[in-house]
């Protein structure tokens, strides 16, 4: 692939990136030459379809785990905001990402305990596996995405205290204590038929994601109270919210060749405006374009 100065593309899972095992099943003609850099390792399932000429498409696909329906609903909404019906990316100034990944916590870690002494504290222990994030996908923003169904009256406002701690194994010491970084912050938001609450944890997770951490283990204590601290200091009883364990949303800039780069296409368009270039070949125009000399003259002046 011609290099556009964005470095050799690494394995890009998804539409254009098939796991390495996909290569082994490929028709020998489509396999990359021996010893070729990893950059060629991404043979898209598209090629796999071409190599499985006989078989029906879709049959060779490995079964995929089905995502959480709420998460699916959120991503479909994000898609509608980011692209047209035909799938053309919308040009938003703020839209710097070209990749958004949503991870739901691994099922075995989702347990919830209530610390009854402190009232109604929701605490959830979460483990996110980030294997699908490639080395060429750089983090722009990460968000914990809470969805909750409450029968709250619409105009109510919520004040939540959130205590987040990340547990990471410290391999350097023999005893292997689980170090944990923690952060506590309060959130205040209006529940206006809002089904989602996004908690920005970018600065908190960036060091972990930057070091290509594959598993992120965090505990989240979330306490929400009805009412607004500004108005009345005494907050009413904590509401009983059916908190669904949060998903982790990563807004990324994929720097691989296959990914679309707004800044690149804008610069490219500026360099080569769409207007076709005048060719000054002797055979260019059999009618001997009278205007040739002044187009040459124009070109010379432009070059000057």
């Amino acid at each position: 692939p011609h290099s556009r100065g964005r470095g050799v593309s690494d394995r890009t899972p998804g539409l254009l990136g098939a796991p390495e095992d996909a290569v082994s099943g490929l028709n020998p003609l489509l396999r990359p030459p021996k010893g070729v850099r990893r950059g060629y390792a991404l043979l898209p399932p598209l090629l796999k379809v071409l190599s499985d000429r006989g078989r029906q498409t879709g049959e060779s696909e490995a079964p995929r785990l089905q995502p959480d329906s709420r998460a699916l609903r959120y991503m479909k909404r994000l898609y509608k905001m980011s692209a047209t019906k035909e799938g053309i990316p919308k040009a938003h100034k703020s839209h710097l990402y070209n990749t958004v990944r949503l991870f739901t916590p691994c099922s075995e870690c989702k347990h919830r305990h209530r610390d009854l002494t402190k009232g109604d504290v929701h605490s959830v222990d979460l483990l996110f596996n980030l294997d699908r994030v490639t080395a060429l996908e750089h983090l722009l923003k990460s968000v914990l995405l809470y969805s909750f169904d409450t029968s709250l009256p619409i105009s109510s406002s919520l004040t939540c205290m959130c205590h987040l701690s990340v547990k990471e194994r410290d391999f350097s010491s023999q005893v292997c204590p689980s170090l944990s970084h923690s952060i506590a912050f309060s959130l205040h938001f209006e529940v206006r038929k809002r089904k989602w609450v996004e908690i920005d944890v970018t600065s908190f997770l960036r060091p972990l994601i930057a070091t290509n951490r594959r598993n992120i283990h965090m505990a989240v204590n979330f306490t929400c109270l009805m009412g607004d601290p500004q108005q009345n200091t005494k907050l009413e009883n904590p509401i009983n919210m059916a908190l669904v364990p949060p998903s982790l949303l990563l807004y990324l800039n994929d720097t691989s060749e296959q990914a679309y780069h707004r800044w690149h296409s804008l610069r490219h368009r500026r360099k080569n405006p769409v207007r076709p270039r005048q060719r000054s070949s002797p055979l260019a125009d059999p009618t001997g374009d009278r205007g040739e000399e002044n187009s040459q003259g124009k070109r010379a002046s432009r070059r000057r």
């Binding site: 995929r64 053309i88 990316p89 994929d254 990914a259 076709p276």
Partner: protein, 131 residues
Amino acid sequence: RDESLREAPATPPYNLSEYFKQFLFPQNECELHNFRLSFSQLKWDKWIIAPHRYSPQYCKGDCPRVVGHRYGSPVHTMVQNIIYEKLDSSVPKPSCVPAEYSPLSVLTIEPDGSIVYKEYEDMIATKCTCR
């Protein structure tokens, strides 16, 4: 000068339209054609959630013998045509291929059940050229 005139046979008045015929653009000249597919046809709709329809388009048609500025073709294209016509017909004539593309946003389900929104470069042909 008189002798040369007397000797030269009277050539018929030169027919300009004949001359230009060889430069006319072919009937089915190179241009962009519509093609729309749905991922369900490829049975990929289990993991490609959006868009439902995708129009990659394609380029098809003959390249005129003199392509010039009309397709933004380099001079090499005409040289290749001359080689094909005058020197060696095993050298292929210039082909009608895409010159520009636009990106495509895709929402897919990954094998581990995570969901990814990705914008891919060069997924829809938007302009053709002869090369």
